[in-house]
């Protein structure tokens, strides 16, 4: 049976060129970048080049890039780091109800440390309102963390407008761009973003590596102390192979961004077209016109998400109920709850399809028809 992987938002396969780029940094150029001898210097050089590639991809300076062990660490470093370093200026933080748990749980931790956090609500399409944001913003707000594109329903937030509104405000602006980066062009200066999180394994890079962009002017307390790596902002022997692999993934993503974005959008249309044509009941969650190209979240009224996923899996199709992390638990997605309320049937009947490297139009068609069959079977129609 051909397996069709439609869960690229959970994690994505490494691009073959990424693997190829990494191998020499494990076999030959294995030195510790802090070592002053040749092996060390070669590794150091590789990191410098990678940093340049990554910085350029978002219009940042090289010294504004901090390599981390992934998106979760980048989010934690951004939030705790900024909160702790700026608490003299205030203790108020603004975020949204639909952030990834790497942000939400970190906010809960900060609340325990005496910070006050406002969780902005979202509308039925998953978007925050700028009026709500304006109202929540206070003189003692020190940090605003609003995700670029949501990992479960794909909705894009008004990042540009928020950046604009914060231009004259003391609060630093962080965005979790783990899902958006690589498919949506991002320039941190144009958008007035102060901090931005990225994870390599979502863009066909390796797991266990990511980066945090932190503008030069951002005051940040590290989370990991020890050696003086990453300009003392993140200790730990650098994962050179991982960093080099991520940089390669970044390069590939930059070159293929437009082409991929339009391909994934056409996949969405294809899928929805087949649902429409076959006449099964479905509702798209989120906002089709304002969304990440690769994420499609659909409710199938009358079905139950767990049976949907099990049946899809049996048919060789890997999809998910939301973020991989919450998927492990049976709890309904906090994102869908924020959009539709606890009582809505949609929170129990929604499936996320997410597209990426290796998916073809034929696969999408096949997956759509299989989905139709399963929905019919489960709803007895």
């Amino acid at each position: 049976m051909e397996r069709i992987y439609l869960d690229h938002a959970a994690t994505s396969p490494m691009h073959p060129d990424v693997v190829e780029t990494m191998v020499p940094f494990m076999t030959e150029i294995f030195g510790n970048p802090s070592s002053i001898h040749f092996f060390g210097r070669q590794s150091r050089h590789a990191i410098d080049v990678a940093r340049e590639t990554v910085a350029k991809s978002i219009g940042a300076k090289e010294n504004e890039i901090i390599f981390t062990s992934g998106g979760t660490e980048a989010d934690n470093l951004a939030l705790v780091g900024v909160a702790m370093a700026n608490r003299q200026k205030g203790k108020h933080i603004i975020t949204t109800a639909i952030e990834h748990h790497a942000v939400l749980h970190t906010c809960h931790y900060l609340e325990k440390q005496g910070f006050e956090v406002t969780y902005l609500p979202v509308d039925e399409r998953g978007k925050i309102s700028l009026e709500d944001f304006q109202r929540a913003l206070r003189d003692d707000t020190i940090l605003v963390s609003i995700m670029f594109g949501n990992n479960e329903v794909g909705v894009l937030q008004p990042i540009k407008e928020i950046g604009q509104m914060l231009k004259e405000h003391q609060a630093f602006f962080h965005t979790d761009a783990v899902q958006a980066y690589g498919l949506i062009p991002i320039d941190v200066n144009e958008l007035h973003i102060d901090l931005l999180s990225v994870s390599a394994h979502k863009i066909n890079g390796p797991k266990g590596v990511g980066f945090l962009y932190a503008r030069e002017t951002v005051k940040l307390i590290p989370r990991l102390y020890g050696g003086e790596q990453e300009r003392k902002r993140r200790a730990g022997t650098e994962n050179v192979a991982g960093i080099v692999g991520m940089a390669k993934a970044v390069e590939i993503a930059r070159q293929t961004m437009n082409e991929k974005a339009s391909m994934y959008r056409s996949f969405k249309e294809k899928m929805l077209g087949i649902f429409e044509q076959e006449g099964i009941p479905y509702i798209v969650n989120g906002d089709e016109n304002n969304s990440l190209p690769h994420v499609l979240n659909v409710a199938f009224p009358g079905t139950n998400v767990e049976s949907m996923l099990v049946n899809l899996d049996l048919a060789g199709i890997a999809a998910s109920s939301g973020s991989a992390c919450t998927a492990g638990s049976i709890d309904p997605s906090h994102v869908l709850v924020a959009m539709f309320g606890k009582e809505s049937e949609r929170i129990r009947s929604s499936v996320r399809f997410s597209f990426g490297l290796g998916n073809t139009e034929e696969q999408i068609e096949k997956a759509a028809y299989e989905t139709v069959k399963i929905v019919r079977r489960l709803t007895n129609k």
Partner: protein
């Protein structure tokens, strides 16, 4: 090439790289995903956890995967401090810890914790007596490294564990990054509660490490998020690097069985031949030191220049620990051992792996002698 910098990082075993590539390309699923690819990844993760637990003679649920030694040390020290701060705010560690232990301790001092740094004697050892005298009613954590990364002295972990059996409320953390597969450490017998390990020091890959957390010990997580790793370490698991680390640990422990005597012989030969050079002062203690680390001083000559001179001949050694080797700071461990500044500033470390040979020694020694001569001429 003669690579003598295995304490900074080791060359990954080819089989380890193969495992990494296979898992990264074929089993790339997210272990939290419910579908087949996710379940495969979850199985690999679980198998790794079980195998590592077997190798370390502990339980699978006591193994937490991290991004490396630095994260594991930070997590252990700050995690325990925050978890038990209501019990007390006193922490005991040593003057010769790696920065990934001592820096978090300094951070905790800023947050109102009281940290005692046990001194070491001229051979690089703490004494049980000093530890006993330092323990207070409000001590919540004792953190002592097993093998020192600069001079290789082995601390009396088992004796510390024995002593701490009388203090059930004190959590005992051991940084074993340098000891894994070189100096055996029994976690249960040593009454160790937390233990740090790092894959790239035993021929695994960077980006993976282990924090052993004894069943029943709670700590406040360093990374919040998706609640992976039994809720104490969030972040998508680096499955391929973890599987590769498991293989590296198994192979390294097998090598220990086969080759530890070889390694000890190589070290002895090194010490013998180094001691015959008049301008070299040996810093590594002869007894109770790890089989792979030899530290010596160049009688005041500039150690960085020496390192570069050797590198020209494809011989790789280091000044002090890699992390601080960019600064020209004297060796912290040697200073703590009471070495005069001149000696501490001219320290050089050789660190071996099981693959180093006796045959390499005379070749390297020749180059070293010439380098010393050259340096002396420049200084004169």
């Amino acid at each position: 090439m003669i690579y003598l910098d295995n304490s900074a990082t080791t060359k990954p075993f080819p089989e380890v790289i193969d495992s990494f590539v296979t898992v990264a390309t074929k089993y790339f699923g997210n272990p939290s995903s419910l579908h087949e690819l996710g379940r495969q990844a979850e199985r690999l993760l679980q198998q790794s956890r079980e195998q590592i637990a077997r190798l370390l003679h502990v339980k699978p649920n006591e193994i937490i995967f991290t991004s490396g030694g630095t994260e594991a040390n930070n997590m252990a020290i700050k995690g325990i401090a925050l978890q038990y701060k209501n019990r007390g705010k006193h922490i005991i560690t040593t003057a010769i810890e790696h920065p990934s232990v001592s820096e978090p301790c300094k951070q905790l001092e800023e947050l109102g914790f009281d940290v005692s740094y046990l001194p070491v004697n001229e051979k690089g050892f703490i004494t049980i007596d000093d530890l006993m005298k330092t323990i207070r009613d409000d001590t919540i954590l004792v953190s002592v490294m097993h093998v020192n990364n600069e001079v290789g002295s082995i601390q009396p972990i088992k004796e510390i564990g024995q002593l701490l059996k009388n203090y059930p409320k004190i959590v005992f953390h051991v940084d074993n990054v340098q000891g894994v597969s070189k100096v055996p450490l029994h976690l249960y017998e040593g009454r160790v509660d937390l233990c740090t390990m790092s894959a790239h020091k035993f021929h695994g890959l960077r980006g993976a490490g282990i924090l052993y957390i004894r069943e029943g010990i709670k700590l406040s997580p360093l990374l919040a998020g998706g609640e992976q790793e039994m809720k104490v370490r969030s972040g998508t698991e680096n499955v391929a690097a973890i599987v590769a680390m498991t293989k590296a640990l198994r192979m390294s422990l097998e090598m220990y069985e086969e080759k530890i005597h070889h390694l000890m012989k190589v070290k002895e030969a090194w010490i013998e031949q180094l001691s015959a050079i008049p301008d070299i002062q040996l810093n590594t203690p002869i007894d109770h030191s790890a089989p792979h680390i030899i530290n010596f001083s160049l009688n005041g000559l500039k150690s960085e220049v020496f390192v570069h001179e050797l590198a020209k001949h494809n011989i790789f050694v280091s000044t002090t620990s890699a992390c601080s080797s960019k600064k020209k700071a004297p060796s912290k461990t040697l200073i703590a051992m009471g070495a005069e500044p001149k000696r501490a500033e001219s320290a050089v470390r050789i660190s071996l792996s099981f693959k180093n040979t006796i045959e390499e020694i005379p070749i390297a020694i020749d180059v070293m002698k010439n380098a010393i001569k050259k340096l002396q001429e420049v200084t004169r």
